[in-house]
């Protein structure tokens, strides 16, 4: 029991004294997960909207695949990305293995199905009559989808929150693709694993607290965006 309390005390000291290593790791974690989330939103929301409004063969199969992707184990995503980025792999020439770029790709692959699947279901919840009414007012297909997205922005932001939450807490993929290299690819999650294994509980607790705080701050910001303009009844 003693060592837990001591761990917390030392952790608070490390944070409050502004330990440069912790903050560098936090910065990198935030950058990688936010970038991966942003790319996943840019690709997943249009993709999900397209799948939702278009009619094409095997649509249900595609949606089932996307839904399955929501449960994609990060270590599998990490493994696949590593195989592609490895020196002898098809994308080896990029030299992105063990770099933040590689980690962003791995996390993008994890977040894409989550944001796509939630966008599909949000868009499919839009009444087709609403979509038709917007078309009837003179909207092009693209404008109509955009207006629908604005109407379902609460759900879309919820998808972003879900995607980011998954990424910032994820350890398997960044461990495999990034390699937990100090000052280069060490993330808050991989650092927590390492410090715990080494018995540095104070450092592990400190990093864990920063991770929690980071998640809270980003989600708070997203929630403020989400709840803005919500009608109070």
């Amino acid at each position: 029991m003693e060592f837990i309390l001591q761990g917390f005390q030392k952790a608070l000291h490390l944070i409050l004294s502004g330990n440069p290593e912790i903050f560098a790791i936090a910065r990198l974690s935030l950058m990688v997960s936010l970038a991966a989330t942003a790319f996943a939103v840019l690709a997943g929301v249009p993709l999900g909207s397209w799948i939702a409004v278009k009619k094409f063969p095997l649509k249900k199969l595609l949606i089932a695949l996307v839904n399955t992707g929501m449960g994609l184990p990060p270590v599998v995503a990490g493994l696949v990305v590593m195989l592609f980025l490895a020196r002898s792999g098809p994308l080896g020439f990029l030299n992105w293995l063990y770099t933040p770029k590689g980690m962003i790709i791995a996390q993008f692959i994890i977040a894409l199905p989550i944001i796509t699947a939630l966008s599909i279901s949000a868009m499919q919840n839009v009444d087709p009559k609403f979509y038709n009414q917007i078309l009837a007012l003179g909207a092009s297909d693209r404008q109509a989808v955009w207006i629908c997205l604005k109407e379902i922005r609460l759900t879309i932001v919820a998808a972003v929150i879900a995607g980011f939450g998954r990424l910032v807490a994820e350890v398997g993929a960044v461990m495999i693709v990034g390699g937990n290299i100090r000052h280069q690819t060490r993330m808050l999650t991989t650092a927590t694993v390492m410090e715990t294994q080494m018995g540095n509980f104070d450092m592990a607790i400190a990093i864990g607290l920063v991770l929690l705080a980071l998640g809270f701050i980003v989600n708070l910001a997203l929630t403020v965006i989400q709840q803005n303009k919500v009608l109070t009844r």
Partner: protein, 354 residues
């Protein structure tokens, strides 16, 4: 404005819409009436280019609307208000401005003018989701008129409104339509609403147009029993024309001889049709020149809109619409003995296939 022929739409449910021909001219208010599930909305959506007919031709503003690869320019020349005309979670002003923004235009003056036209300028800063039903309807109509469309399609514009609000919106809508000069297609189950607005009327039942023409013509001279049923002809008796003398027919129906002005020939099987408002009820036998006059017993008296509907037994069943004053004045109640009369010109004969 719209020329439509041989239009066919089939649905998985088995429902088919088949419209032989329909023509809507510039500046005309054309109402399509029919019961629930008749295909009114499907037909309107076809005109709004929101569904794809399996066959037929549709010409809108002189252009072949079904062949056009890009339907956007045509859609932008008109405005459609669907049966659930959603407003966005935004201010009334921005909602009304939406069709302009979709066309890349910013014209606050046009938005203000449309708001003014529908008398909701004072609501423009309100969130549209907080409006009452009547106010929402006005906002939806303002949104449809803001682009000054040449063609306006309205699906059940008065659904879910109480009478008072409906009357006031219908009055304003008529004014706006007349000043705009737009052609309007209106689909509705509300016959009174259709009558106050429409220049032309079509009756759609079971996916087919059974009759089209002047509203008065359709209401007083329905072409078939289905149309008669739908437009409020309450007395429909099967019978046979016994004789025709210079278009004055004597019809054997319900065990009595009834007189009607018609070109039907002797021996024709017909439906004898009579609107309730054309029947007079009195206590004395003087029919005042009306050719049909029968002694009758009152079966029931029931409120019917602003009037009362009286069911009479004259050997056959006759429905009459009477004012409250008359019900009180004559002491009409079940069992009362009265005289029912109507003109031969008020009756209408529909030929009946046997």
């Amino acid at each position: 404005m719209i020329k439509l022929s041989g239009l066919r739409l089939a649905f998985d449910s088995g429902f088919r819409l088949e419209v032989e021909s329909l023509r809507i001219r510039e500046g005309e208010v054309f109402a399509i009436i029919g019961p629930n599930g008749a295909g009114k909305t499907t037909l309107l959506n076809a005109m709004a280019l929101l569904n794809k007919p399996a066959a037929g031709t549709l010409e809108i503003m002189g252009r072949d609307a079904l062949a056009a690869a890009n339907k956007l320019p045509l859609r932008r020349a008109m405005a459609a208000v669907l049966s659930q005309p959603y407003l966005l979670n935004d201010t009334v002003f921005n909602n009304v401005a939406l069709p302009l923004r979709l066309r890349g235009l910013r014209d606050a003056a046009a938005v203000d003018a449309a708001l003014e036209l529908l008398r909701i300028a004072h609501l423009k800063e309100r969130n549209a989701k907080t409006l009452s039903q009547g106010e929402s309807h006005r906002a939806v109509l303002a949104r449809a008129f803001v682009t000054r469309p040449k063609l306006l399609l309205l699906d059940e514009p008065f659904a879910a409104l109480d009478e008072r609000v409906k009357d006031s919106i219908a009055r304003d809508l008529r004014k706006v339509i007349k000043t705009s000069g737009a052609a309007v297609v209106l689909v509705t189950q509300d016959q009174a609403g259709a009558l106050t607005l429409a220049d032309k009327l079509a009756v759609l039942v079971n996916g087919r147009i059974l009759q089209q023409g002047e509203p008065q013509e359709i209401f007083s001279r329905p072409a078939s029993k289905e149309v008669a049923d739908f437009v409020g002809v309450e007395t429909i008796l099967p019978g046979r024309v016994a004789a025709n003398s210079e278009n004055l027919c004597s019809v054997e129906a319900g065990g009595r001889t009834l007189m009607a002005v018609s070109s039907c020939g002797a021996g024709d099987s017909v439906f004898f049709c009579l609107r309730p408002e054309d029947v007079s009820v009195s206590l004395n036998a003087d029919a005042g020149g009306r050719r049909n006059n029968f002694k009758a017993e009152v079966v029931s008296v029931a409120p019917w809109g602003l009037e009362y509907k009286v069911e009479l037994d004259c050997g056959f069943t006759l429905q009459a619409a009477v004012t409250k004053q008359l019900v009180d004045g004559l002491g009409l109640k079940a069992g009362a003995q009265v005289y029912a009369s109507f003109k031969a010109t008020a009756a209408h004969l529909i030929k009946r296939e046997l």
